[in-house]
């Protein structure tokens, strides 16, 4: 997991572990919020991860991780130009509606998913892949238990 996950799938056709984790984060959210668009679901997964991971590493630590992940991914996904991170705010990911309008829902979803992948990779490099997976799975479990705020306060596009 220490190499970049630019290819979405490994040569064997299997997803890389970071992408697999990112997709689990997104799908667990989407299942709960039926009817949510892929881009909104992915943005909401980022919000959830920010909130849950902040419990462990603090809002500042978590914001630093997202900032680096976003900066790295922006070079590859111009669609992320309008995406802003709002530390200690809900929602955390801002500018989703504008990005969907400018680039379409699928492109926004793909770009945001790559941010999550980069974040998982980055955390793995810092504290070890096994620990990173554990922390994120723990976040996933909290979000699946429904610890997240009941309503998504992101404005509609």
């Amino acid at each position: 997991m220490n190499t970049s996950d630019r290819a979405k799938e490994t040569p064997s056709g299997k997803q890389s572990p970071p992408r697999e984790i990112a997709r689990r984060l997104i799908s667990s959210r989407s299942e709960r919020k039926a009817g949510e668009t892929p881009a909104r679901g992915t943005a909401a997964a980022c919000d959830t991860l920010y909130r849950e991971l902040s419990r462990w590493v603090g809002p500042d630590g978590c914001h630093a991780l997202f900032t680096r992940a976003l900066a790295d991914t922006r070079t590859e996904y111009p669609a992320l130009a309008q995406i802003q991170l709002r530390a200690r705010s809900e929602p955390y990911i801002d500018g989703v509606a504008e990005t969907i309008m400018a680039h379409g829902d699928p492109a926004t979803a793909e770009a945001l998913e790559s941010v999550l992948v980069r974040l998982v990779e980055l955390l793995g490099r810092l504290i070890g892949d096994d620990m990173a997976v554990k922390l994120i799975e723990r976040s996933l479990a909290s979000s699946e238990r429904g610890d997240a705020p009941p309503d998504d306060r992101r404005e509609e596009a």
Partner: protein, 496 residues
Amino acid sequence: MKEERAVIRSLPSGVPGLDVVLGGGLPEYSFNLIAGGPGSGKTTLAHQIMFTNATVERPALYFTVLGEPTIKMLRYQRQFTFFNPDLAGSAIQFINLSAEVMDQDLGEVLKRIISEIERAKPGIVVVDSFRSIGGQHGSSERGATFDLDRFVQRLALHLTTWEVTSFLLGEYSEQEQRNPVFTVADGILWLSQATDRNSVVRRLQVIKTRGRAQMPGLHTIRITNAGLQIYPRIPEQTRKRALPKRERLSTGVPGMDEMLGGGVIAGDAVMLTGPAGSGKSTVATQFMVAGLAKGETGVIAVFEEYPEEYVARADARNSEVGRMIKAGKLEVIYLRPLDLSVDETLQAILEAVERVGAKRVVIDSLSGFEVALAPTFRADFRESLYRLVGALTASGVTVFTTAEVSEAFSEARFTTEKVSFITDEIIIQRYVEMEGELKRVMAVIKMRGSDHSHEFRLYDVSAKGVVVGDSLTEYDGIITGVPTLRAKPTRIKRST
């Protein structure tokens, strides 16, 4: 009426040596402070305690406040071998309190801690660094101090009520001991790091443990990739030395046993002193080999050279040495690294003694040992050595030490003046000039409770070891280094 006391159970700290210092372990449900300067090992100590005790059913909660960011802390802590990533997230949960502390609301901090405790029902709680909470609110304004007092009181009450063993970590100076947390804490562990010339020594002091008789004093800490290890300060020997049958042990040096009235006395501390090259290590090895030949086991603590070299040299004289090492009857331990404490040395020797069931211990040499110590400990060398030898001889081991004395040729120094008092038997070696040659002589100058030879005797160091030769009864002035042959009374022939 039968008196029934509430039993306070002890938790293992997971830190080698600490449970002994604490008088049996960490009192369950106690509220503790781990204080000390930066880099003294507070965070690592807390992690060792957590990883030893946390379970999924009774997890450990590690609250981080301001200070070392959690990601960095995890990155570094997981380098230690005790850090089990499988426990992270389940048995050990990290929770960040920086938002509550930044809002400067102690009530919110307390509320968050309690709510997390209610949720997880932990057995262990750590707040790192508690100083960040105190620092945010510990201004001299009466109101702020009062708030902190109340916060500490409430926190301690809640943690104990939830049956939690807790640890607050903080950077405090000794002048700050009036801080309310010092009063409320059931236990205070103080870690310090002192620099003396180029050496740095870490130490731990248990300032307070309620309901326990802790081991007083400053105990050396060593941090390795296994985490902290505490070397308890050697307690003064209070128990009486068992007096065996005054069995005599052979030194393995032909002629030397005779000088000693039959050999050294089992359980004694023997010191052999002499200038460089006089054959001290050779005699020490012969003493050990003599024991091995009788079926005894032993330990040689080497300070002045690498054990491979030491063993190769000893083996060249007597192949028994290498064979006995392989057979597990003899252990040669290398204690050359600088900045040791006497306590670490003793621990290493005692562990080796226990491993092989040693009856004989050679410390070669005290001079090398003193140099290997951190400068901080050199000032207490005599006292420490007294405790070290006391601890070894109390367990029935016969200790044979060597010590180098630097001597002017014309002046005999019997021993290093600093350490001779710790020994029961002293043998000296020295050079003398005789008939235009440099020769070696030895004498026994002290043997508690036993007669011994008072002669100076010549000896040789050959390929097979030291061999004691004739006495120098016909010479005077040996002690000056230049003996003179006493003139024989001449008979005058009278002519008839």
